[in-house]
Amino acid sequence: MSQPDIRTELQRAAPEPLLPIEKKLIGFSLGIGLVLLVVLAVVNYFVPATF
């Protein structure tokens, strides 16, 4: 693909609505990520770094 085609492709790309599987991927990623961060933060609080 020539380079000018990339500019055109990006400008003229037909919209692709989010599929349910994509919404699930985003939702599960964020949900699991936030829960795990909270768990780690709690562990971090109760098990402080040792020097």
Binding site: Q3, T8, E22, S29, L40, N44, T50, F51
Partner: protein, 494 residues
């Protein structure tokens, strides 16, 4: 030179159609381990690589260069520089041969890369740029200094590369065979494992605590950053899936390698991850020129927060780990000026730990995306396979882990007379780590042809990057670094 073309780690080693016998990834492990093993000869009272060149802060150029070990002091600075050049030329030309590159072309290009990059480093060590403390200013007879420390020379190497890329693009094209930031930084990271082991050996509990906190970085990069950037790219900017997934991986995980792994996993056209990779390199340049100085100004009292933040915010291995090196120098200098002298190695070690932890999971994440894409989105007979996890695993991490474990064993598990020589041995290997950092910075600069990239139509991609990076990634990275690393200080020196 096309920034697109050269940002790809697979782009231009091979002049032939047949694939190389060995990957750049494995080569970095071999070269890093060879340097590490040669350095360990010091344990048997044999100094094999003490002739490597080092640079001190200078105001008289004749005194700038020296040898890594006093054993080779008669060689002199110029002799050490020449010996280092010849040795690296031989080793890397052999690597080029293994990768089926045009060895003659590589050797000529590497000659230019090495001398320009190292000259930039030497300039960066000039006292008016690098001297930090009042005592140093007095010693070198200068009234004022930029106080960049001698590792500010990385910035000079980067700027030299940027000038070549943007003012002399034809010359940049000429030397592109040897412009290999991914190879150079991977070798440096393998060597860094041993250096980090020696640093960690004195404070094993602290090192373990840092490793545990590195887990937070994985969660952040893969589960939080990726989802948000993907959403922004798809929903706000209207990118299709083929563009949005590599873009999200490039911005949120680990730049070039993540974009390429994701592109391959979702069966995107090769041009897409390559274009994203180019963008990642450009933004890494901007970040490395700004973030270490912000860290020095605002985070110098929380050195490990600064180290973790650089690892989370800068999105290529090369720029992140080398940026961690600059941050460490700047913060150690500022702390020293305030009367607190920390042991070197801990800030850089934190950045490297965060980055390595993130890298480990690239293959797994690419497989997850590949599974979803090939089974639910673009259903195809070419399904994602479990073996792809290993295929996309960054092998240089094995080298890092190996040198770390060996270094740790030698420092803690050997008799005192052997253990006492380990820091000297690793110090010699570390001389090469610094040289590979210099080559990395210079190469990143040479890849960053801003005008060319803009002409290639990446404005919309850049907009996603700007919004995600400066509106989200940097700040969330800072919060999480603060949450997990604040209050943890490096040990004091002495």
């Amino acid at each position: 030179m096309s920034a697109i073309e050269t940002a790809s780690p697979r782009a231009s080693w091979s002049a032939t159609e047949t694939p190389p016998r060995i990957s750049e990834d494995w080569l970095s492990v071999i070269i890093g381990l060879v340097i590490f093993v040669l350095a360990l000869a010091v344990l048997a009272n044999v100094d094999l690589i003490g002739w490597a060149v080092t640079t001190s802060v200078w105001n008289n150029l004749g005194q700038a260069l020296g040898t890594a070990s006093k054993t080779y002091a008669p060689l002199g600075g110029a002799g050490a520089l020449l010996a280092t050049y010849v040795a690296l030329l031989a080793v890397l030309s052999a690597a080029a041969m293994a990768l089926k590159a045009d060895v003659r072309k590589f050797a000529l290009a590497f000659t230019a890369v090495f001398w320009i990059a190292y000259a930039s480093w030497v300039v960066g060590s000039y006292a008016s740029f690098a001297a930090v403390t009042p005592a140093e200013l007095q010693r070198f007879g200068v009234a004022w200094s930029l106080r960049l420390t001698n590792e500010g020379g990385f910035i000079f190497a980067l700027l030299a590369g940027l000038i070549i890329a943007n003012v002399f693009p034809r010359f940049a094209e000429t030397i592109k065979e040897a412009v290999r930031p991914e190879l150079y930084i991977k070798i440096a990271i393998v060597i860094l494992g041993g250096f980090f082991a020696v640093t960690a050996a004195g404070k094993l509990n602290l090192a373990s605590s840092l490793l545990l906190r590195g887990v937070a970085a994985i969660i952040e990069a893969y589960l939080i950053y990726w989802a948000v950037v993907y959403f922004v790219a798809r929903k706000w900017f209207g990118f299709n899936r083929e563009w949005a997934a590599p873009l999200a991986s490039g911005i949120s995980i680990c730049g070039v390698s993540a974009a390429i792994a994701t592109g391959a996993a979702i069966r995107a056209r090769p041009i897409i991850p390559v274009l994203v990779s180019s963008l990642v390199v450009i933004f890494a340049v901007v970040e490395v020129l700004i973030l270490p100085f912000l860290a020095q100004t605002f985070l110098w009292q929380e050195p490990l927060v600064a180290g973790a933040w650089i690892g989370l915010a800068v999105k290529t291995d090369g720029a992140a780990v080398a940026g961690g090196g600059i941050t460490e120098s700047l913060i150690l200098a500022k702390s020293a000026a305030e009367g607190v002298t920390y042991q070197p190695g801990w800030i850089l070690g934190t950045t490297a730990t965060v980055k390595v932890f993130i890298d480990i999971f690239i293959g797994i994440w690419a497989f997850v995306l590949g599974y979803i894409w090939t089974n639910h989105i673009n259903v195809t007979s070419d399904k994602a396979k479990i073996v792809e996890i290993w295929q996309r695993f960054p092998k240089f991490i094995l080298g890092f882990v190996l040198t770390f474990l060996v270094g740790l064993y030698l420092a803690l598990g050997t008799p005192a007379d052997v253990a006492s020589k380990v820091p000297v041995a690793i110090g010699e290997a570390n001389t090469f780590r610094v040289i590979f950092f210099i080559l990395t910075f210079f190469s990143i600069g040479v890849l960053s042809n801003f005008k060319k990239l803009w002409q290639e139509g990446i404005g919309k991609l850049a907009a996603v990057y700007v919004i995600s990076l400066f509106g989200f990634v940097i700040w969330v990275g800072l919060i999480i670094s603060w949450l997990f690393f604040s209050g943890i200080k490096p040990p004091l020196a002495g």
